[in-house]
């Protein structure tokens, strides 16, 4: 390993549930860790979920514990709005570039909110996938960690920007911030960059991006959240009407050689859970889940059994072939074949939720000399890794518990690279 001297620091790319876990497990075992997160806050995708299956509990519960673990652990440092920009060196002795985008708010921010009061510009709320708007001076979300405001670049260099900056009595707003790149040493790297929902507009016959009331399953999480853009009411985007008849279209992209040939593992349970969200909104609400196979593994089967028992949730074994819109009402016509009766399904729904699959975030070219990918772009941990290890959904589509398991494992793989015993 280079000159034989080993840098003990573990660099974790991604501050989602996988990255946080890998970082914490390693740090609590006594190792120095740096987390690099592209969002202005830690927590990743799960912060945007309303509930976890199968317990239907709030993700913030576990996140709060993890943040508390970070607070009480001096061995962990983290950068938000930061990305890994380059790597050189060898296992045990990496030099990494970290690109940090300007937040325009420094550590003096007390979250008092005065800046937002004077800010008039509104931007589509990234946390809610643009389902609502937010001030250009904003706290990303109420549980944001670190709890610190962000200034959107759109008002930087404007008169309004000045006014916003002046509104801060703590000198926390610094519109002069520039993008900076840090160079650090690391002994090993854990790649936990997470996933994105498959770009559903590529499944053209489903009309995502064309018909406003066809949404993906992540947007559904925000709609269901009591603190989301609709205050927990499941309102369809076209007319903010409460969605009563909702279709869940499984394998939207997954198990499809024209899109994602693999199964995304979580979409079945996600839809079962979201059908349950719908049940809570109103006694007339009814859900139909169109599926190929319901894949509720191990004890998750219990959750499937529970949902099946609800007579307002229908299961139809059919891959949906076509979604069209009634231009007048923006209702959606969903077409498929009920393969259990052989009948053609042609039904009208208020809202269609596409159970879009998981696409792993892309591993940059320059990292590939250190870590291998499978044909679908998932990271392989198989002993041929050169100091860089995948953790969580970059390895295989998986639910939270499995991602945490995998990330705990990744932490040990990383430690093995740097231990001097």
């Amino acid at each position: 390993m280079g000159d034989g001297k080993i840098t003990q620091t573990i660099l974790v790319v991604g501050g989602g549930i996988s990255g946080l876990t890998a970082a914490l497990e390693a740090a609590e075992a006594g190792h120095e860790v740096i987390i690099v997160e592209k969002n202005p806050y830690l927590g990743g995708k799960v912060t945007q979920l309303y509930q976890y299956f199968p317990k239907l509990c709030p993700p913030n519960c576990g996140l709060e514990i993890n943040f508390k673990r970070i607070r009480s652990n001096p061995r962990i440092r983290f950068f938000t709005m930061a990305q890994l920009a380059g790597v050189s060196g060898s296992p045990g002795d990496f030099e990494v570039q970290i690109k940090i985008s300007p937040r325009y708010v420094n550590e003096r921010c007390t979250c008092c909110g005065e800046c937002a009061k004077v800010c008039e510009t509104e931007i589509p709320n990234p946390f809610n996938f643009g389902l609502d708007k937010i001030k250009a001076a904003y706290l990303p979300h109420e549980f944001a960690f670190p709890m610190r405001y962000v200034i959107d670049p759109s008002i930087v260099g404007t008169e309004e920007g000045k006014r916003v900056a002046e509104a801060c009595s703590y000198g926390a707003i610094d519109l002069g911030m520039k993008e900076e790149t840090l160079t650090l040493k690391a002994g090993t790297i854990i790649w936990a960059a997470g996933w994105e929902p498959y770009e559903a507009s590529k499944i053209e016959y489903y009309g995502f991006g064309v018909y406003p009331n066809v949404i993906n399953n992540i947007m559904m999480e925000r709609l269901a959240s009591p603190v989301g853009p609709t205050g927990g009411k499941i309102l369809r985007p076209s007319d903010k009407k409460e969605a009563k008849r909702v279709a869940f279209v499984q394998c939207a992209g997954s198990r499809d050689e024209n899109h994602l040939a693999y199964c995304s593992s979580i979409c079945c349970l996600a839809s079962l859970k979201q059908a349950n969200y719908l049940m809570e909104t109103s006694p007339e609400a009814a859900a139909t889940i169109f599926f190929i196979d319901i894949r509720a593994m191990d004890r998750l089967e219990d959750f499937y059994t529970m949902i099946k028992a609800n007579d307002r949730i229908r299961f139809i074994k059919s891959k949906i072939a076509m979604i069209t819109e009634d231009e007048a009402t923006h209702d959606l016509l969903v077409e498929g074949e009920n393969t259990q009766t052989g009948e053609q399904v042609r039904e009208r729904f208020d809202l269609v939720v596409l159970a879009t699959g998981m696409a792993p975030n892309k591993v940059p070219e320059w990292l590939l000399p250190y870590v291998g990918l499978d044909e679908y772009g998932f990271v392989i941990n198989n002993g041929s890794n050169k100091g860089v290890f995948g953790a969580g959904c970059v390895r295989r589509p998986s639910d939270v518990a499995t991602s945490v398991q995998d990330s705990t494992a990744a932490a040990l793989k990383a430690i093995q690279t740097i231990v001097r015993r």
Binding site: E204, Y205, V210, T324
Partner: protein
């Protein structure tokens, strides 16, 4: 730019107005078309009834081989049925060495051989990508302003490979209509099948398919329908009155070829070049509305 124009059997007869309008339009756009000497029928979609798959492949392989020997330019098919037959066979030959060997073994009987070098294209592809809406717009003398056209793409035109446009939500046809100054109406059923090869023998079923397409076009305000395939044109145009009789509708909507509209917009002769007089349901009325006289 030089191509082979494989116009196929229909364009010499029921689709003659297509061929007639292609010639002057392509001249203006600088498309140089050559005929594949002694070309044969593509087998269309119906020949599977009389022949095994290999025979149909051989039919197309012969044309491909002839074209290869004759200069190897891209083959352009104005007929979607010819296009899909040829493009499919060509792909399969290019992707499957065993198949290529098998086919060449057969072609040998006629002293032919095909290496797989040819590119098969639809006329719409050439008009949209090689010429492009901009260039087309530049030749427009009499914009079809205010005319609501339903750009019927038809099923086989962009399938199965979607090589030049989306197989579900294509845009090329509408883009060209807009370049001509016309208003391309939104038209969900623009990809819905008209019955193509089995229309004649399954009229009972297929008339309903055509009815749905025509209704959808009209409901979206279309005054005229544009097509890029002789099968589509035939099925949508020639049977309207029969459909009215059987299904109690009252269709009388003109169905023209995209190239006919181009000829008109380019200010060419409505009769000689656009061959509008060959249309069953006269389109002149609608077209005059825009271009006067």
């Amino acid at each position: 730019m030089k191509y082979f124009l494989y116009w196929g059997c229909s364009l010499e007869a029921s689709g003659s107005n297509y061929l007639e309008s292609i010639r002057p339009v392509s001249k203006i756009l600088g498309l140089e078309f050559e005929e594949i000497d002694d070309w044969n029928c593509c087998g269309a979609s119906i020949s599977y009834i009389g022949a095994n798959d290999l025979s149909i492949k051989v039919l197309n392989a012969r044309n491909l081989a002839l074209a290869e020997a004759q200069g190897g330019y891209d083959i352009v098919a104005p007929c979607s049925s010819c296009y899909i037959q040829m493009v499919k066979v060509n792909h399969e030959i290019q992707e499957n060495e065993d198949l290529k060997a098998k086919i060449n073994a057969v072609l040998k009987e006629g002293g032919l051989n095909y290496t797989g070098s040819i590119r098969v294209r639809h006329l719409l592809d050439v008009l949209y990508h090689d010429v492009g809406p901009e260039k087309i717009r530049s030749h427009v003398k009499k914009p079809l302003r205010g005319i609501k056209v339903a750009g019927y793409v038809g099923c086989q035109t962009v399938r199965p490979y979607g090589e030049y446009d989306s197989v579900e939500r294509p845009i090329s046809h509408d883009a060209i209509l807009q370049a001509l100054g016309a208003e391309a109406v939104p038209f969900p059923k623009k990809m819905r099948c008209c019955g193509s090869g089995i229309f004649l023998t399954e009229m009972g079923y297929c008339m309903n398919l055509v009815k749905d397409i025509l209704e959808d076009a009209l409901n979206h305000g279309a005054e005229i329908i544009s097509t890029v395939c002789p099968m589509c044109a035939m099925n949508l145009e020639a049977y309207q009155h029969r459909i009215n009789k059987v299904l109690g509708t009252n269709f009388d909507v003109p169905v023209v070829y995209l190239t006919q509209l181009m000829a008109v917009a380019f200010g060419l002769d409505m009769k000689v070049d656009a061959a509008l007089d060959r249309n069953y349901i006269p389109p002149e009325v609608v077209l005059k509305k825009a271009i006067g006289h």
